[in-house]
């Protein structure tokens, strides 16, 4: 019989061995080259696990030959998986966890030699519980935290931190099982249950209010309810505990700010994605990044989630092994818990039966609480995932629980039949609840990983996007003659964005790992990033292989750098904006906004600069119109892939006025403006990006012609309108354009100066339109 179960261990070893191998090779995939430093350290963890697994199996075979054969291989796989994940995340912690695993297995094997461990535990239940409580109480006074932050739930033994509340949960299960096993014949009396109930409620409240340990408090109460229900088989117990839980929750809500914030985060994390909601949203993004197949060991970025090695280890596993991995993990947890319940039913006496169900409930409830917390199925409680999370106390406690379950399963193979079962209901109820929890977790996991995944990954606060920018070349932004404006240089791992024409920073924009994106860099990010314009299969394939998009595509703008340079020279010491547009095609040849900034030297002081250099005045500026212009103005529709000002009565942006000018030069029709012309795809070369909006008729052809004639000067070949405002704000508007009988490229422009300076405006207009082709 047992040789078949040995095969289980071999598959576990194969799984963990492949995990280690992938982790070793992962730097090659990140750098996309074989010439890298490979990771080796975690093999120490793998071989420690392999040895401990072999040693434990050997001892269990001799000491507990009739044990449940599924439990140990499952627990061993969990702890090995957790160990390697911790090595992957933080090698220092991996080393420590390997030592803790060795210690836990050693304690388990030593305890195996103690034949009467179960009766002894039963006899000394009060001493056990009191010492557990005492140790927990000590944290109120001597509490410490390895990270030196709140909450202080640990005791420091010369650099080794222990969390007594982990042990307290186990001791509580033992105590309650012993206490209730002795008193269950009195099952129709409620009195013996009052004392432990009040006592436990008190501890839970104390932990909650003094220590702010929401996780332990809720686990204690839920464990208490489960064990009491199992032992008495009465629904009243569940009802009573629901009332206690609600009372605690009520008091907790009013007296503990922890609960208030936890609940607020749970309900609406999206309200504060960079503050309170940061951790859970990062967790969901990590799960989304894992998707169906996972990024592979060492290839994802689970470290973006705070405390990924402990509270959020499920998230780290979900990112690197994907939904397939976590479904496997949840299923194996399901098998583990169902074996626990089977052991409980077969247990030789009442104490062991309650104990086995209590231990199963303990492992199941704690796992579901933290997995649910990671998935935003439940409010987050900072507890560990048994066997898997980093933490010596947690691992040791999990192994002690495992030992007791193995011991009970071994003893149930005796001669006496299992004791009479009062009612099957509590067992069915508890098993159904645990199973339901696992199934719900699996479904929610699938929701975040597959259904909502793609949307989550495109969020701008997904740090993986900025990270991918270092590894995947971003497309260049070119002007209409293919002169480079923004380009990416460097090599994989160190790609940086260079801005060759800094004056365009407020128009073309920037992409920055700290400050995000703006302008065309933001609005056409999907092309520049290679998510759009590449074949869907290529994008999918690259995401599967690297978790990153393929190389970005180059983008051609309608801007003419030579003309732009002219304008920027003329405007350089002034505040204002200018838009020069092809009046027939709508292509924007020049778009200038001054003062501007240099995206290469981006820093936070720009955000508070009174001159608003980040603002693209040409599209976002909303300036008052004076009489002449106001009568002409009939807000044209603007869609040009840049943020623009809302249309308002009596106000307009320079771009909007440029459209009016274009309509005057183009027989009354304002063409749809275009800034992005084409994108260079790998398959079909340069592909035209159509204008977003549609052309609009602002004037009749006759009307336009008449207006142009009115404004045409004698000296110039073009028409122009100048409007000044000298009241509160000094503004100069200038609209100009080629006449309707123009033989060359029809041009139109709008100039806005935040000063009273018609001379400069005219000078610029002349410079642009006289030299027009």
């Amino acid at each position: 019989m047992h040789s078949k179960f040995k095969i289980l261990n071999s598959y576990a070893a194969l799984f963990l061995g492949l995990y280690s191998l992938i982790l070793s090779l992962s730097p090659a995939l990140r750098a996309r080259s074989w010439d890298v430093d490979y990771r080796y350290a975690h093999w120490l963890g793998f071989f420690t696990w392999l040895f401990l697994n072999w040693l434990a199996e050997k001892h269990l075979d001799t000491k507990l030959p009739d044990r449940d054969p599924y439990l140990f291989p499952l627990a061993s796989l969990f702890s090995g998986w957790g160990l390697l994940t911790i090595w992957r995340l933080l090698p220092n912690f991996g080393l420590r966890q390997s030592l803790w695993l060795a210690l836990s297995v050693a304690v388990m094997l030593l305890a195996l030699r103690w034949r009467d461990i179960l009766p002894t535990l039963r006899r000394y239940k009060y001493i056990l519980l009191s010492s557990g409580l005492l140790l927990t109480a000590l944290t109120l006074v001597f509490g410490a935290n390895p990270l030196n932050i709140e909450p202080r739930l640990w005791l420091n033994f010369g650099g080794i931190y222990l969390q007594p509340s982990e042990l307290l949960k186990l001791l509580l299960v033992i105590y309650l099982s012993a206490y209730l096993a002795d008193r269950v014949p009195l099952r129709d009396k409620i009195f013996p249950l009052i004392f432990p109930t009040l006592f436990l409620g008190g501890i839970a409240l104390l932990l909650l209010i003094v220590q702010r340990d929401l996780g332990t408090a809720s686990i204690l109460v839920m464990l208490f309810a489960s064990i009491l229900y199992i032992a008495t088989g009465r629904k009243r117990v569940l009802l009573g505990n629901a009332i206690i839980l609600l009372t605690i929750a009520f008091f907790g809500y009013y007296f503990s700010p922890t609960i208030q914030t936890r609940l607020a985060i749970w309900f609406s994390p999206w309200d504060d994605p960079s503050g309170f909601g940061y951790q859970i949203i990062q967790s969901l993004m990590a799960i989304a990044n894992g998707g169906l197949w996972g990024r592979g060991a060492g290839i994802g970025s689970p470290l973006f989630v705070p405390v990924a090695h402990s509270d959020f280890i499920f998230t780290a596993i979900a990112e690197e092994t994907g939904l397939t991995g976590t479904l496997g993990l949840l299923t194996l947890f399901g098998i583990f818990l169902s074996r626990g319940m089977v052991i409980a039913l077969r247990a030789p006496n009442r104490f062991q039966r309650i104990l086995a169900s209590g231990l199963t409930a303990y492992l199941g409830i704690q796992s579901l609480l933290i997995i649910g917390g990671n998935l935003r199925l439940l409010p987050l409680t900072g507890v560990t995932l048994p066997f898997i999370s980093y933490g010596g106390s947690s691992l040791l406690t999990s192994y002690l629980a495992l030992l007791l379950l193995l011991k009970i399963s071994d003893e149930s193979e005796g001669v006496t039949p299992p004791p009479f079962l009062w009612s099957t209901q509590p067992y069915h109820f508890l098993s159904a609840m645990l199973l339901l929890g696992l199934i719900t977790s699996a479904l929610i996991n699938g929701w975040w990983a597959v259904v909502r995944g793609p949307d989550l990954l495109t969020r701008s606060d997904n740090p993986r996007r900025a990270q991918a920018d270092f590894y995947v070349p971003r497309g260049s932004i070119l002007d209409r003659n293919n002169a480079e404006i923004n380009i990416t240089t460097g090599e994989s791992g160190n790609y940086i964005r260079e801005y060759l024409y800094p004056e365009l920073s407020s128009v073309v924009g920037y992409t920055n790992s700290v400050y995000g994106q703006a302008g065309i860099e933001a609005s056409l990010d999907d092309y520049l990033r290679g998510l759009d314009g590449n074949p869907a299969t290529l994008v999918w394939w690259h995401h599967l292989l690297y978790g990153q998009p393929p190389n970005g595509l180059d983008l051609r703008l309608s801007l003419d750098i030579d003309l732009q340079e002219n304008v920027d020279d003329l405007l350089s010491k002034h505040k204002g904006a200018l838009v020069l547009i092809n009046a027939e095609s709508g292509e924007i040849l020049v778009m200038a906004s001054h003062p501007t900034f240099n995206a290469t030297k981006f820093d936070a002081s720009l955000l508070s600069d009174e001159d608003s250099p980040l603002l693209n005045r040409a599209t976002q500026g909303s300036y008052p119109l004076h009489q002449t212009l106001d009568t002409l103005f009939d807000a044209p529709p603007i869609e040009i892939r840049l943020p623009h000002a809302e249309a308002a009565e009596g106000f307009a942006s320079p771009l909007q006025m440029a459209m009016v000018a274009a309509a005057l030069s183009n027989e009354g029709i304002a063409p749809a403006p275009r800034l992005a012309l084409a994108v260079n795809t790998s398959q079909s070369g340069w592909v035209i990006l159509p204008a977003l909006g549609e052309s609009a008729t602002l004037f009749s052809a006759a009307e336009a012609k008449q207006l142009i004639t009115t404004f045409s000067g004698d000296e110039e070949a073009f028409w122009q309108i100048i409007s000044m405002q000298e009241d509160e704000e000094n503004l100069t508007w200038l609209l100009a354009g080629t006449p309707s009988n123009w033989s060359g490229t029809p041009l139109a422009l709008a100039i806005l100066l935040e000063e009273n300076n018609p001379v400069l405006a005219e000078e610029i207009a002349r410079a642009l339109l006289s030299s027009a082709p």
Binding site: L8, L18, W293, A297, G322, L332, I335, P417
Partner: protein, 152 residues
């Protein structure tokens, strides 16, 4: 390129996890089958209980089930409406090739042939059981019944 090679390793890793899982399920299934086959092969020898009920009527009941409960609870297989009998008084069960009598912590105790039953005790043919003040007689007459006799 490293990526396709690693992709194969990654799929292999997932596969090994699912083989682990599949193997565990296979073992569970086999275990389940063996256990259920063991149960069908284990035929419970029929047991007959005779006792006198409240209306002083002599009652005889035949059982082929491996578990018989006795008590004042109306759901008991042997329903004994007597104040000296507890709700869940005693249990007869067949396992390890024998019928066993077990007292379920009853108030007035269970006697087997005049001796108090403290631990599960083997019951033989013509044994006298006493639940509280109600006496019952056990008959284990396999030869009387054909194997096809239905449970009553």
């Amino acid at each position: 390129m490293s990526a396709p090679f690693l992709l194969i390793l990654r799929l292999g890793m997932t596969l090994s996890l699912y083989i682990f899982m599949g193997w565990a399920f296979l073992l569970l299934w086999r275990n389940f089958k063996t256990e259920s086959e063991l149960l069908t092969s284990r035929k419970t020898p029929p047991l007959t209980l005779s006792y006198t009920d409240l209306e002083k009527k002599r009652k005889i009941k035949h059982f082929r089930t491996p578990e018989i409960t006795l008590g004042r609870d109306p759901h008991s297989e042997i329903y004994l409406e007597n104040e000296t009998v507890s709700a869940h008084h005693a249990r007869l069960s067949y396992h390890h090739g024998q019928w066993w009598l077990e007292d379920l912590s009853s108030k007035n105790g269970t006697m087997l042939n005049g001796e108090r039953v403290e631990t599960p005790t083997i019951v033989l043919g013509n044994d006298e059981i006493q639940c509280g003040k109600i006496p019952l007689t056990v008959h284990l007459a396999m030869a009387d019944l054909s194997p096809n006799t239905q449970e009553i």
